[in-house]
Symmetry: D2
Subunit: 396 residues, 4 copies
């Protein structure tokens, strides 16, 4: 098993040395006061990264998918109506989960590569005078297409429609890497995981609930036990969990938050943006297009790159792994075979990004694409040579 090269999948990300060590913790008694000294600061750190003063933070031994289920099952009842746009594989999956839990989903089909259609949301919400729609789902960053959506615009749509629906945001591949404003955007439930911006192994579903969402937990009747936020809240009040917590991961999360807040969120976001700009410069130099249709939806955490008609983009991922030991993401769903993805989030430096760009060039040339070796690297180097604050360069 070779671990020498960085990974360029859109999560789990490369892990900082210090966080690996924080997770690799000996057994402690998870019912001792020591556990509270890990749990509460971790929750407080997450809250700050969400830019919220008052969100209730719940952390489950699970994944982002479990976070979605937490959001739905704690607040909704079978037959409730939900509004959602499908513009990629992950929004699709969340819709599917809703349907399997007996929710009615009003789906706004949206071209993959575009952001959430806030104006369509506004029309639908305005038309919903009976307020049947209980929740609006919004995927902040579509990992499948490398598309960032404007959550503030979704909030404005709700407000313009004077609609009381809750706003649930999937921030799995955005939170802690791109700006997220829980309070300012009026988010009711935010969902993320440990393995993206937090640079940890997978294994934690991290959710934030607004006061309004907490209120909705009183009426939602979908069955839930493992993901019940009341059980969790009751546990937290006693420095404990309703079952056995993943102590090492929580310790890692605590340290991850400290690391991110120490670097400064603005610096973290600027670092992700700069690295992403380098990747995008390389894509242009290669003469290729992003799946994301316009700059305002470009994701700073993952780029989905369209390959020429007739070419199987998945071959890039396969050959890169086999010949060079480098991992990229394949296209999923509608764009399977049409795009390959370079993840550029979490613990990454300009220097690491250059190796990912250089390897992609070699692979594309190997597969007969008309790519000039070094061209993407040179374009990215131009970006990475620009002045930058020292402290924003790297997580430890």
């Amino acid at each position: 098993m070779s671990f020498q090269n960085p990974v360029f999948i859109p999560g789990p990300t490369n892990m900082p040395e210090a966080l690996r060590k924080a997770c690799d913790m000996p057994t402690i008694d998870h019912r001792s006061p020591l556990f509270g000294q890990i749990l509460h600061p971790a929750r407080e750190g997450v809250r700050k990264i969400l830019k919220s003063d008052s969100a209730e933070i719940f952390i489950f031994p699970s994944t982002g998918t479990g976070g979605w289920e937490t959001a739905l099952t704690n607040t909704l009842s079978a037959g409730d109506k939900v509004l959602a746009a499908r513009n990629g594989m992950f929004s699709h999956r969340w819709i599917d989960m809703c349907q399997r839990h007996g929710l009615k989903v009003e789906v706004v089909e949206t071209p993959w590569g575009e952001g959430l259609p806030a104006d369509r949301y506004e029309e639908i919400l305005t038309a919903d005078t009976g307020h049947e729609i209980k929740v609006v789902l919004a995927t902040h960053n579509e990992t499948a297409t490398g598309v960032k959506s404007d959550i503030a615009a979704v909030r404005r749509a709700l407000d313009a429609a004077g609609h009381p629906a809750l706003l649930f945001v999937d921030g799995v591949s955005s939170i802690a890497s791109m700006d997220f404003r829980f309070d300012e955007w009026g988010v009711d439930v935010a969902v993320t995981g440990s393995q993206k911006g937090f640079m940890l192994p997978a294994g934690l579903a991290i959710v934030g609930f607004s006061a309004k969402a907490m209120q909705a937990t009183g009426t939602g009747t979908l069955p839930r036990t493992f993901f019940d936020v009341h059980d969790m809240a009751k546990g937290y009040a006693n420095n404990a969990y309703p079952y056995t917590p993943a102590v090492g991961l929580l310790n890692g999360l605590n340290d991850a938050c400290a690391m991110l807040l120490g670097e400064g969120l603005d610096n973290v976001f600027a670092r992700h943006h700069r690295i992403a700009e380098g990747v995008r410069a390389a894509v242009r130099a290669w003469g290729l297009d992003l799946c994301a249709r316009s700059p305002e939806v470009y994701s700073d955490t993952v780029s989905a790159i369209r390959t020429p008609e007739g070419f199987n983009a998945t071959d890039i991922v396969t050959l890169a792994a086999e010949k060079y030991g480098v991992a990229y993401g394949t296209g999923l769903g509608e764009v399977a075979g049409k795009v390959f993805r370079i993840g550029h989030l979490g613990s990454l430096t300009d220097v690491m990004a250059l190796s990912g760009i250089a390897t992609a060039e070699m692979v594309m040339a190997d597969l007969g694409l008309d790519i000039q070796l070094g061209s993407g690297v040179a374009a990215a180097q131009d970006v990475y040579r620009s002045p930058q604050p020292t402290h924003s360069r790297a997580a430890a």
Copy 2:
């Protein structure tokens, strides 16, 4: 944070060095073939430890509680009837989960300290001529009371009644430490976690489904997505997960199975029995009683020790942690304050057990109990000095 002393909670257990290192794994692409080389052997290892030829093994990034929910939501529908005995905190919690998922539970109240009443089960099942009972729940080892139940007897009760109900067994604190015979006992769903007999951090729900249980997944209508075994099975067929797996923990699980099977399951069980016998000899030397009422229900993974009337057993746990840095388990539920628990499962040696016994003596003496220092240690030493096969002594 001091990690010097072993822990004596009934899980998570002390972790072998090699397993900590196996879990502390750099990021790999969980959609690469490499992942399959971890996943499938881990599942196969679990199957062998369950002593099953054909159980379908599913591993979720969750905990044993998530395993219970997996068992229920994949096979049952709201309103279905379940038979269960309540003889401790963990059987109580599983019953509670059933009720919260809209199942009707026929509860056999059983004194805490006693095993499952197989004869009562037989009467009830025999009376259930309409076969309304869909599932019989059985807690193999009640972690709260240190009581082991006879699952073979429960199977015999089902067979004697000619009843087709499924048999779901909670083996969280027994599997991989005490003998468990999935096929021989006709178990339909077995549930465990990573943090007990497998000696890993918490974070994995591990379940085995019989063919009959898999069939039931076709009719169960309880909503489920995160814990859906069909999604999981579909993922496995592609060396993948329906979401992001906890790769490091799976790698650890794979190595844990190899370690246990390498030691030999009989040796593993004998080792747990011998260590437990030492602890029980100490308890007798102290003049105290176990919560478990008779030797045939003594658990080899945890001993719940009754303290004298009027004494708060939880004080032992508190003082041991504060003064000596040693963790024991408190009493839960009905036996809160009446027992303290010494966990003796997972990665443990005779020598480590002696330090747990010696510390308990000091604490009890400190708290004014009439305990002769060294008495329990001497009794345990007698047990541990008996000849033993070298290879059964220790996990690495």
Copy 3:
């Protein structure tokens, strides 16, 4: 390879989790400023632990034996005269090293089990009116016999004789575990290693030179390159080494000093004393004697325990390893077969010590010695139950 039980050899000691992680460091450029940020604080930490304001601290990628060689080769010339007492294996070896480097050693043969004979030193130094003796060697703690010597008394002997010889002290198994006063005792060279009181892996020779010793480096003509303190000093002035440093170990040393100073040296010494008192109480309860002849020379880091005439003490060490997986020290040299040694230094708790005492009891009983099981444990428990400041209990 099983790593479950603590070790009870007199070094290398058990290692705190945090120090293992500090040593396990990725590669850095040892010629970068970052290295200076590890090196200088580590040297400063050592200086504080030596209780010196001005000692020059040198740290070689070597062991304590290399530290001895550093002391000799930097200050002396072939034919120079040295005064030393032989009261155990380690003083014997240092004498041997002197002789092999062409030094003339006036050896004061001293019974093994006794401390350095300061009065004999005084007589000899007084008689040496020509000041032929250039250096007095003193082993602070004889690891072979568990004997601590009075270095202040040796200093008084030098002063009473008005003798200008340098005072070289082997503090390998005392420094950072027992009180050591470089400045107050007028020590000229102190020698230690990383693997005892500093709780690190072996691999560093740590030495302190007084101004007077530094002056002597100008005249000593013994050949030296690897251990040359001038090369080292020149390197340090440039944040560097004359060759490749052991960066991870230095990082560990830096953290070890911080950990010890954070606990407080007095607390560290009191902790070692208390644990040693427990071991000694056990020895008395067993009816056995220490090799150390009187309480004032009892070592707080290692106890050498005499076994009855006709019994091979080494059998204890062998059986403990084979049957129980526990490591003690054998007798060395003159006391081979006559003593076994329990190391009780470094990262150790009362609780760990009890497991070492309990195991020794089992082994001695197994080998037919008339030892009452539990007797030593009970005696030690009495010691360990006495009130103690929380903060002095454990290194992390």
Copy 4:
């Protein structure tokens, strides 16, 4: 402290994950049989990597410099004559060590950038009819200049002259990365360290002695104790050391040998050659020259790159560290400020090498050198795209 980017210093190298874990070992009793199970296979592995059937392998807790001292002090006496060429900083330092140990060194001054002058050696040896020269020193790979010398030619010179001098080879930066033939070349002492081809932390001096060199240890009278090979051999015969060994590093060495031999030495050497060829292609593309004067002396482990007249090459190293967090080597001694060095040995992949090349381009451009961005990367990509056996690509 950021550890994200690979290092490109010519050692210590990047470390494979598996070797870091092998070194990070809990304390064991270094006098137990377990230690022998680490020590002897490690020595045997080193012997195989030296391509020797019978060399005595000694491993000291020290560094390559200590290995040099071991070679000299065990075989020579003050006043003995040694023949050596000075063609870089490391040959210079070995000469200096000889002189400081009272040896007479006949120095052949050789231009930095050239290999050892075997013909001059032959002339001198032929002229030395009295066989005053006891030892010929040869630096296999001059780390300062990136120059590999022809050791077989030095052997031929000795043979042609019919001269009985011993042949001592510094293989610190060649062994385990480039072909080394102890037996075939008639090497008498080979010296290396743990932190280069063995991909471990610094801390071990590794030496091989021929039978003839072992014989010379009987007559050499230079003082030695720490580095005495007889003490060491005596220890090894008892599975032990004459002092405390660096157990974790030895465990790592054992695993490193297994890893290298598992990959196959020819594959290891081919991998180093291919990566080096990529770096050299980049240097040509930049329009720069190597310090090494001709292809037959190009080192496969380090390239020293000359920068234009008037430019301070050290600025590259400084800016790379400060702005991009990447470490290269500076020029040393005669070529200080004239070259910078890219280390390409040990645990390295093509992909990692590309990031080192890309960063060097950025830095040189930042400093105003006329370097076309992407040019060196493209040249190296051409090399790295060539077909290669999968198994030779990477150490784990």
